[in-house]
């Protein structure tokens, strides 16, 4: 029984590693990347994963080995080392170099997420130019839903002013973000109450919404998941597991988990415009509509 705890630690570690290696094959991995900058984010993730994974195996291996050798088997007595300059220098320098490497390697990815017109790789060219975008969108977070507003004609004339006041002909939706493939979407992210965080896993996008501030966020989806069918008024999925999610990633209260939504990327601007016109027609309805009764329900696929 002497070896009991060593074995427990070994089994837990090997188990954890096993689950981890199996995860991608079990579908427990990153959701599909459909973002223009998602590749950079994923690359960073894999770099960090490789570094941490290597050190995890190394340190846990040493831990279990030492437990068996010096605790359970008592092959020899462990010696206590204090103040070894070479070792200290080594384990200060190695993490320091790794962190510096990560610090530099993430800059282009960060810049790409924040500056749409970036072309050079490194050093970063901060042009200070306004982001050229195709679609404006206000995403207003509140306890516990996303309220989304898009202007007629995709782009607002005076976006900053429009984000505050809006227009009569804006389309209002709840928990549904619509854009089209390759559209450069500029989100004006706001919150009505507490801090929320907009998370679009497929777009590798995450941004806190702070009370009193309008946070600029942009994305460009390089793949579509829906097509609008004007005959039925429904959205049709293009991919079998096409449900792309919106989530809140800042604990914002009792029903935080319920702050979910759907991301719909239309296959083309024409498709988006057709859908928008129909949704708008319902929202601007001057008569009793006997079928669907709100723009938000044009998503159809609930």
């Amino acid at each position: 029984m002497k070896i009991f705890w060593s074995l427990v630690f070994a089994v837990i570690n090997i188990g954890a590693l096993g689950i981890f290696i199996a995860a991608p094959y079990m579908g427990w991995w990153l959701p599909k990347n459909v973002s223009s900058f998602g590749g950079d984010v994923d690359r960073l993730f894999y770099i960090i994963l490789a570094v941490t994974g290597f050190f995890f195996v190394l340190t846990q291996g040493i831990l279990v080995y030492s437990m068996i050798r010096f605790g359970d088997r008592k092959v020899e007595k462990a010696s206590y080392i204090h103040g070894h300059l070479g070792m200290e220098a080594l384990w200060t320098a190695v993490p320091c170099l790794i962190l510096m490497y990560l610090g530099f390697v993430q800059v282009p990815a960060w810049a790409k997420m924040k500056y749409i017109d970036l072309e050079t790789w490194f050093p970063v060219r901060f042009s200070g130019k306004n982001i050229e975008h195709d679609l404006d969108m206000v995403v207003l977070a509140r306890q516990w839903e996303w309220r989304i507003r898009t202007p007629q004609g995709s782009r607002a004339a005076n976006a900053a002013q429009w984000a505050e006041t809006g227009n009569l002909n804006d389309l209002h939706l709840t928990n549904e973000i619509h854009a089209w493939k390759d559209a450069r979407v500029r989100i004006h992210l706001k919150t009505q109450d507490v801090i929320h965080s907009l998370f679009l896993p497929n777009l590798r996008l995450k941004q806190d919404a702070l009370p009193g501030k309008t946070m600029p966020v942009w994305f460009q989806a390089i793949e579509a998941n829906v097509k609008y069918n004007p005959a039925t008024g429904q959205l049709e999925e293009l991919t079998p597991n096409g449900a792309w999610e919106i989530a809140c990633t800042e604990l914002c209260g009792g029903s935080h988990y319920r702050m979910r939504g759907k991301l719909y990327i239309h296959e083309s601007k024409q498709d988006y415009d057709r859908w928008f016109a129909d949704a708008m027609k319902l929202q601007r309805s001057h008569e009793l509509n006997k079928q669907a009764n709100i723009a938000a329900s044009t998503g159809g696929r609930q």
Partner: protein
Amino acid sequence: MTPLATTQTRTFANWAIFALLLGCTTWLGSGCSSNDAYPDDVVYPFRSDLIVDEVPKQTQDRLPGPGQLDKSIARIKDLGGKTFDPRELPENLRTELDKELVEAFGTPNQPRVGKSNSPDIDPMVKALKLEPESLLAGSKLYRRNCLHCHGLTGDGRGPTGPWVNPHPRDFRQGKFKFISSNPTGNKVKPRREDILRSLKQGVEGTSMPSFALLGQDALENLASYILHLSIRGEVEFETARTLLKKKNSVTELFELLPDAEPEKETIGVFVKLYTADLLKAYQRSDQKPIEPAPYPTYNDKDMAESIKRGFHLFSSTAPDAFGCVACHQDFGRQSLYQYDEWGTLVRPANLTNAVYRGGRRPIDIYWRLKRGIPPSKMPAVTVTGDDEAKKLWDLVHFIEALPFPSMLPDDVRAKVYGQAQRGVASLAPTTK
């Protein structure tokens, strides 16, 4: 020095810690129960909060603080209103009513409307989708999604209810604000579509979120369960109120049902007949939506003229106008709080905010004007003559343009926002 622990106790401790870890992992891994049904022994408790019979007329300039709803309702008596305490009903009447309510409406775990096999109401129950299966599915959804604000009996006093403003709706009086029906008869009920709209879209400007992601079937079941709570609550409310008002005379209850010919005058018979009466009212309302005359097309010039006429209708006290500013003071920017029929303080909407609780479609606003918002004392607009639709659309156009200064004709804009376009900064939707 004696050792702190012997080898035996140490081995035991090892196993104990291991067992504990294993136990915790199993417990965490097992997750929560996925059964949403109420436990069998949960019943709808008999109403114990005050029944508001008449509310004070005077306006208030502020709200009672959070969590003060019941205290504020208790003060209504001192301000000139009238309230009754259902706990003052004689023991025998209370027990009888409670028993009849359980028989007619079941329990949260077995909700129903009307006793089973009653041929006189079964067709209505079916038409209103109030069958037990639908209600049971609805009660499970309600427990998970709605209970924490709207409460077990639909009293709007769930654990989080008292802390949000405006208060979650109390379903128990069968009163609804956003109605698109125009039935004959005195009981005006919402159409099923109206309830579904609130569930799907949420109520903008309040804490009620959208539940559209639950899916159409779930929302249908939820709407059915809300009708169940509402009908049960209203039967309880009206019976208790009338008994307290009429000195506990069961006979006088039947004055609420002038057309009925009861075989016996007991509470049981009254509950049965009154339930049937309510079902009839819901069915009548559901079949009678307000359908406006076809909407004419307006060009830019017509629209500007229409907005001007709407402004006149809204803000003038002339006999041909509606004088909405009397309550929506300064276009709602300085409205005062008034009591609604639930005894809560509400304020006429700030119409410069572009936040519409009952929906933002022009038809929604049309319905609000045409039907009024009866429980909150917003009167329906009455037009004599045959240009009703035209006048209502004028008013709708003005209300829609009001939050957006650039849409208003110059002279109207100057009157609403001042020459320098004051107030533009305050247009962002607020939670007020």
